[in-house]
């Protein structure tokens, strides 16, 4: 069940809250309390924009226990706009359509569930950036 474990990670999972190092300015996700660049204490919360691009990707056909009914699903390393890499699932996209460099944005989705009486865990996934209709029109108008 591990309810407390998931509860402790709410801010990370729902709002992409990491940390910023006050010494060197490094943006850190996930939070680790010690800056990986300069080893100074880094406990100041920092909320990431959720924007980024695909750095690497794969499709999982043989999932671990707890993820069976999501398979096959797409996973990726996403390079966040603020710098760090994050490991996450991609959503709203077929594996064959994913490319390195594809712009993506964070959304909150169901990550796993542990059966009828188990916990449902929500968290971040990333989806291709949806270009608003207005900006598509503006772009085509300028051509």
């Amino acid at each position: 069940m591990e309810i407390a474990r998931h509860w402790r990670l709410q801010r990370h999972r729902y709002a992409l809250v990491g940390e910023v190092c006050n010494h060197c300015g490094e943006k850190i996700f996930p939070a680790r309390d010690v800056c990986p660049q300069c080893n100074a204490p880094a406990k100041t919360p920092f909320t990431f924009s959720g924007k980024g691009e695909v750095y690497s990707y794969s499709t999982v056909h043989h999932p671990p226990e707890g993820f069976e009914h999501f398979a096959p699903y797409v996973v990726a390393l996403v390079r966040l706009a603020e710098g760090p890499l994050v490991a996450a699932q991609l959503t709203d996209v077929e594996g064959e359509k994913v490319e390195i460099g594809m712009p993506v944005e964070m959304v909150t989705r169901r990550i796993r569930d542990d059966g009828g009486k188990g916990t449902i865990v929500y968290g971040y996934k990333f989806r291709p950036v949806i270009v608003p209709r207005a900006s598509v029109d503006a772009k085509s108008a300028s051509v």
């Binding site: 499709t59 043989h62 390393l77 890499l85 968290g123």
Partner: protein, 385 residues
Amino acid sequence: MRDVSIIGLGETPVGEHWEKSLKDLAGEAIQNAIKDAQVERVDALYVGNMCSGTLNGQEHLGAFIGDWVGLRGVEAFKIEAACGSGAAALRLGYIAVAGELADFVVVAGVEKMTDRPGDQVTAALAMASDGDFEAQNGLSFVALNALLMRRYMHEYGVHHKDFAPFAINAHKNAVGNPYALFPHAVTAQDFCTAKMIANPVNLLDSSPVCDGAAAVVLCPTALARQFTARPVRIRASAAATDSIAIHDRRDLLGLEGAALSATKAYGQAKVTPKDIDLFELHDAFTIMSVLSLEACGFAERGRGVRLGTEGDITIGGQVPISTMGGLKARGHPVGATGIYQVIEVALQLREQAGANQVRNARLGMAQNVGGSGATVVTTILEAVE
């Protein structure tokens, strides 16, 4: 510090041992090693294992295995460092003998993986990664390697088929190893058409889930000749770590833990990669072979696949790897692998590798990796003249 040598080797065949339990396997390997060394006294037992708690419902393996093999009363611990558990146990055995805290140490590695269904084994292996930020997001261990491989292919413009020689070499060499799980050859065609697990990683990129145990006996080199005509001396033993999660690596494809561990080992042995006659590397996935060869100085960045395509990794090549089948084809019973690797290097140095013998092998290296590079233990071995 005292010089340390290996004086006894014991292994079980790697397989799906439905009729044997964790303790049966460990017991067989340990008794074989003790018999091979002909020692009458054991001062300590270190057992490398990763998954006994999750897959076998048994922890406390030091006392558990010690009791089973007739070593009740002897100091005994389980050592865990994911897939690097075996070599981590060896490192502690080495420290004990080199540091004059024990004279005769048995180091075993054991893993019993086939008692559970595949999804539970996959979940257990994913515990080698960052639980909250990799495994809990559905990233299997294979998926992490797939992310490394995809990025490697992108950065260096290589194709999936370029990795085929690593699987072909491992399988070819397994044919000559009576303890190997897959003693049969595979072709480039087999490699390109194998079942996909996590794109681009397919079945023939990956090492198998299996059972096995292996053990060695260590003692001071000064005493080794009393027990065997062919002791194998540990010239270097070095461990290093990197970030647990691949997303936290400073250099995703650099395998810095492997580089650090190998550099320390070269320094201890006062050798360079050119002096290494064979290299039992951690080929859990073909991409790991390539990254390891680059990190350990056998190839420049982005050029590791060429050692495969140009034949340098074969038994007659510049840097023979996976000479008895490697993790790919001998098999990868995770906590036992580090000991299998060291035994295979020792067999090469004792000129007991049969059809797979590397000619004039004097210096061999084994490198065992925990997780996707977070723990790396490098051991350099030398035949005692």
